[in-house]
Amino acid sequence: MLEVSSLGCLRGERRLFAGVSFSLRPGGLIWIQGGNGSGKTTLLRTLCGLTHAMAGEVRWSGTPIQLLGEEYRRELTYIGHANGLKEDLSAQENLLVAAHLVGQPVSRAEVAGALQGSGLAGREHLAVKFLSQGQRRRVTLARLRLMPPRTLWLLDEPFNALDTHAVAGMRKIMENHLSQGGMIALTTHQDVAIQAADVQTLRLDA
């Protein structure tokens, strides 16, 4: 379980947000909303420990995440605004390497399956630099299709650049993850209706 208590963040001399508290249980989704620059990305990065909070705490199963380190990182998948793909490697290679690096030894067939599911069949071996913007995003998101998935997904604008078909596909993946007891924290400016038992929203607007 992810618990966030009275988290606050300063940027430059500006207070981005303060007193953010929520908790996310298995099967729960939190949709972080707010205008451009309201601090959604900063919040997500704080949740995965890349940025330090000025105030408050993030706890995973009761322990502050700084104390957990690797144990916490093992539970989480963060997909940021940047795709994190190497332009010179193919989609297949990118996924294979990424999965192995986080200790998820997938086979080539599994990767091919995930890419196929993302509508990239026939482009598995093309260097990522040749792919279109939306195709790159699809490759990045295909990580979420590789089994067995991490528990906590932190997704920053996952639907950016995706066409409607791909958005629908992603939605299904996310619903599936939630129904299996996963957790998702999500930001998006698009109106995507995700069906889940436990959906919270959090507005960060100043």
Binding site: L101, T151, G182
Partner: protein, 236 residues
């Protein structure tokens, strides 16, 4: 949920796997961009061959200069390729992903350093005898040069990684990195060139070489941690 998270064995094998895949990834990338490897090598050759052109053909003078020139060329070549060690990963977002890998960050750093050495240090070691011949170095000195480079270039990669990590996401990183790293390279240069020099003058080079070895050990123990700390700070 326990099924979701408990599938993974936690053992040393897994750490090795992470290490192996970091190395694999970076070497693969370098192979895709063979131009980079070639540029480093070329640079080494050009810097080293320029001096005979500039200084004139006196063999005695050239022989006296050779160890120093070869080592400075190696230093600069290794440093030139450092700029890309973390910068590209930072720009495309994959550095964040590497930091989030569930193994100690120092391990990832070691992997990247190994890959960097394989791609930019090793080829340079292998080509150095050819260039040493251009300077008419005696055979013993060439063997010493090989050994010294074999010990010294990994050390260059290790020290360089600290500088590269500190300058991640900083504009003008390429030049800044050299300002940070080159002064730290000085001992490697002195003992490396000293070894070759000694052996060219018919003396025993093992003293220099063992100091280089000791420095390498020290570097292997300390540098990955410093680099990991620097990376975390840079990503903050």
């Amino acid at each position: 949920m326990s099924k979701l998270c408990g599938w993974m064995p936690e053992d040393a094998g897994e750490m090795m796997q992470t290490l192996r895949y970091v190395v694999f990834r970076d070497v693969l990338l370098a192979m895709r961009r063979r131009a980079d490897v070639a540029t480093t090598l070329f640079f080494f050759v050009i810097v080293a061959s320029l001096f005979p052109l500039g200084v004139g053909p006196e063999p005695k003078l050239l022989r006296a200069m050779a160890p120093g020139i070869l080592w400075v060329a190696a230093l600069l070549a290794s440093m030139l390729s450092l700029g890309r060690l973390f910068a590209e990963d930072y720009a495309d977002g994959s550095l964040e992903q590497l930091v989030l890998v569930p193994e100690p960050l120092a391990l990832v750093v070691i992997g990247k350093v190994v890959a960097h050495w394989l791609v930019s240090g090793l080829p340079l070691v292998l080509i150095s005898p050819v260039i040493a011949l251009q300077f008419d170095l005696p055979r013993d000195a060439i063997v010493t040069l090989l050994l010294a480079l074999l010990l010294g270039t990994p050390l260059l990669s290790l020290i360089g990684a600290i500088g590269a990590a500190l300058t991640v996401g900083v504009r003008g990183g390429g030049v800044l990195i050299s300002l940070l790293v080159l002064p730290l390279y000085v001992p490697v240069l002195i003992f490396g060139a000293g070894a070759v020099d000694a052996s060219a003058m018919g003396m025993d080079a093992s003293g220099h070489l063992s100091i280089l070895g000791a420095l390498l050990l020290l570097g292997m123990v300390l540098a990955p941690w410093a680099t990991a700390a620097a990376l975390r700070i840079s990503l903050e």
